[in-house]
């Protein structure tokens, strides 16, 4: 059911997803199992005389406390997984994203503009996003990341494209007629190939920030 | 069904015989619940005001200097006085003094009218200064000031609508008193109408400092 997760934050999100889905399945099986069992066992034919039980306080406490603990744990891992994706590494490369009805535009630090998102592999990216008209949603399904893009405000998103590939980028917030067609590609390339592309046809050249410390920084989280 | 025994409600004590008697408490509860909805309606606007004030403290300050504090203060006093005549009218009804009640109630409606009159002069003077939603003068101002004036017109406007509705309700009450539908033994309608009028007053009590004073 889940996508093959090529990226780091995708892994964090997938862990949360796996835990909650797993717990959900167990709880679901317990509830539905008990229901089916009772319906079978205490059917009118099998069990003609009902027993009126008014309640059981220890039981009430158990099935209040255990769910509370469970959801607190879910909250905890969910929050931890999320907050990691919001920390901006010092050596992140900034890409400016401009959304308008109905297309995306990307601008690199050296002024290079494009409507397809080319990214160097292994380099942390910080997107600074704004919209020219209504609210749009910057959505990268394969990276499990999403952030709304607002007019007159700048929002941000951090990305670590670790694997090469060609991924999709869609608009997740309804923005009018061609909302469904506000769609482009994310192409993750080896750094040298990316540099060749980003430095072609512009005045300033762009060098990638040193990304060697990224790994350690993330490990320290 | 053995457990449910039929019985005449009259044989029972304490307040459960509401089916036979008018339920003054019930009517008041209902009215209070309605007042809460009015309160929360304005609460939404107050929330918007608070947020934008927080975002643009300086602009709100400057814009606040432009409103007419004198008009605002007089209007506050007018509304407070109308609340007084309202309760006095109910008090007179309780004591069975029909014409006194009518006089006070008519006074309340009149004060409401005066409030609206002053509001009219205030708004026209501001509009003459070019301060109205979408006006060129306003669009040249900063975001915070546009928001202040937008909120000013929306909130005092919505309040004025409530004053008008309140006056219509009170006029009906006046007719009811004259026809005797409201009398010394049955004045709950007047009381609930009074509650509504006071709520309008309370909302103004908060609008007044936010638009005229804090600057």
């Amino acid at each position: 059911m889940l996508l093959p997760g090529p990226q780091n934050e995708a892994k964090a999100v997938d862990d949360v997803m796996r835990f909650i889905v797993g717990t959900d399945l167990i709880l679901f099986a317990l509830v539905i199992g008990a229901m089916l069992l009772f319906v079978f066992k205490y059917n009118k034919k099998r069990h003609p005389k009902a027993v009126s039980i008014h309640g059981n306080v220890p039981l009430e406490i158990i099935w209040t406390v255990i769910p509370v603990l469970l959801v607190l744990y879910m909250f905890y891992i969910g929050w931890k997984g999320y907050i990691q994706t919001r920390i901006v590494p010092k050596n992140a490369m900034t890409v400016k994203v401009t959304a308008r009805q109905w297309n995306w535009q990307f601008q690199y630090e050296n002024g290079k503009q494009a409507d397809t998102l080319y990214l160097p592999q292994g380099q942390p990216i910080k997107f600074l996003m704004t919209s020219l008209d209504v609210i749009h949603g910057f959505f990268l399904p394969d990276f499990r990341e999403k952030q709304d893009v607002l007019p007159d405000r700048v929002t941000y998103l951090v990305l670590y494209p670790e694997n090469l590939g060609n991924f999709e980028l869609t608009c997740s917030k309804y923005c009018g007629l061609h909302h469904a067609l506000m769609y482009t590609r994310v192409i993750v390339e080896p750094p040298d190939k990316f540099l060749a592309w980003v430095n072609s046809g512009v005045k300033d050249t762009l060098a990638l920030p040193d990304s060697s410390q990224v790994k350690t920084e993330r490990a320290g989280l | 069904m053995s457990e449910i025994v039929g019985s005449k409600s009259e044989t029972l004590s304490h307040g459960h015989d509401v089916h036979k008697h008018r339920d003054v408490q019930g009517a008041k509860l209902g009215m209070w619940l309605f007042l809460f909805t009015e309160l929360l309606l304005f609460a939404g606007l107050f929330l918007v005001y608070a947020t934008y004030r927080y975002f643009h403290p300086v602009q709100f300050h400057n814009a606040g200097l432009e409103t007419h504090t004198l008009f605002g203060t007089i209007n506050t006093m007018v509304l407070l006085t109308s609340s007084l005549t309202m309760v006095l009218s109910i008090g007179a009804m309780q004591r069975g003094k029909k014409w006194l009640a009518v006089t006070f109630l008519a006074g309340t409606i009149l004060l409401g009218l005066i409030f609206l009159g002053i509001k009219y002069f205030e708004w026209t003077s501001e509009i003459r200064e070019g301060l109205y939603p979408g006006s060129p003068a306003l669009l040249n101002m900063s975001d915070g000031e546009i928001l202040f004036w937008g909120l000013y017109y929306t909130m005092t406007g919505l309040h004025a609508v409530h004053v008008i509705v309140g006056m219509i309700i009170l006029t009906f009450m006046l007719v009811f008193i004259l026809t005797g539908t409201i009398n010394q033994n049955d004045y709950i309608k007047l009381e609930t109408a009074g509650l509504y009028w006071h709520l309008i007053d309370i909302i103004w009590i908060f609008l007044f400092p936010l638009f005229y004073l804090i600057n």
Binding site: A12, A50, G55, V71, T85 | G6, S7, F34, T154
Partner: protein
Amino acid sequence: MADVAIPPNEAFANSYLKNHGKRKGILAWILSTDHKRIGILYMVSLFTFFTVGVILGVLMRLEMLVPGPAGKLFTAQEYNALFTLHGVIMIFLFVIPGIPATLGNFFLPIQIGAKDVAFPRLNLLSWYLYVTGSIIIIVSLFHNGLPDTGWTFYIPYSIRTGTDVTMAVFGVFILGFSSILTGLNFITTIHRLRAPGMGWFKMPLFVWALYATAWVQVIATPVLAITLLLIMVERIFSVGIFDPAKGGDPVLYQHLFWIYSHPAVYIMILPPMGVVSEIITTFSRRTVFGYKAIAISSLAIAFIGYLVWGHHMFVAGMSTTAQFVFSFLTFLVAVPSGIKVFNWVATMYKGSIDLKPPFLFVMAFIFLFCIGGLTGLLLGSVATDAQLHATYFVVGHFHYIIFGGGVFIFFGALHYWLPKMFGRMYSIKAANWALAIMFVGFNMLYFPMLVMGAEGMPRRYFAYLPKFETWQHISMVGSWVLVIGLIIMFANLLHGIFKGKVVGSNPWGGTTLEWTIASPPPPPENFEEIPVIVHEPYYHPEAIEVK
């Protein structure tokens, strides 16, 4: 269970259906202040709009026949209008008034032993407001183009679009007042008109659920009213309150919208939960397990439900603090729902279960509601919500919970109370078949949405990537299966209402007050003598008592 000794013929001759005072014909209905007649008025109008809503839903599924933008049944503009209207109709015209306005109106006074609601004329006024608001919404369709904002009316799009949003929003505004009036009427009724001896903890659980719902209606709806009013003001006078071009903050709009619209989802689900408690006890032939836990958890849901609205805005540009607080509170709201589910299942324990259609509906409800609720947990966690927000996963979540939970129980409640309301019985066999078909169709329709959502299919898309084609097709076929089930069900119910076998006053062996009066109930006072309550509800004398 001895039926009360009212021969059915006499009951029919003296029912609220026949006796209508001075007026004749339609006027005797649309000017009636009898809560039972108003309940029926609501029911007829609600299901009319529901039919419109479902047809729009099926049309949306048909749109998914081919993936890309070409060769479509509807243009993008038409599709955008379709989901807007579908959402507005389903939410504001159908599920929000839903059970309280129809069955609540009909049974609340009877269940507490009252002759009517506290303010009968206000009750009629609510219905008129409901009809007026609905008509305005429908008219907005034929005026200046169909509104195309989604049911959430997000600013700035909703103030930029050229379609007639103002009118649609005005319609919803009026509907809000209808809802408020119903709520305050119910609160007052429950406080003032309980029969002698009916203390708070002797009320049926349906009444508890309606009470909690009514509070949410009264306390939350005004915030929606002001929000919609501001959209109108913004569109007409362009004062700039939410318009970013003039310094306004669109995220603040979302706060105001969800301050109402999240609590509103509990307006939709609390009454069905109340019905579930009624049905389970009746067909398990025993008292309810954990009466107080269920009653109090209704209040808890209403209360905590007021604190979590921000979970709709996790990626909208809120502060990190707010994301933290709202995610935390969202998880807490799941607990009282869990308590209810556990107590319901425990009520089946050692019962003597009679698998009649209403009970089968409850079983379907528990199944579908749990899926809906447990998927809600994935949305409540910020990490996974950043992935799932605004995808088909959300669409799947809320259809499971609103349609699978709420609306299935609405149907179940109809099957439960229809014999009481009309004195006749539908075909049990047809009802079971309809449910089975609907259950299968439902899961075929919505489970694929959960899968597509997790794989990244955004919502409100008229076109989609070819990789989703298989799932979209399964889902589309599911909608047809569901339609078949629904048609069988409605046909069966309608046949039951007019032609069904006549039943006595208590066909199921229910123990709440409505089963002590004739079917159909007498006009307009319900009870010849106001009953005195001595037992807690759900007292089944034939069951073995355990202390």
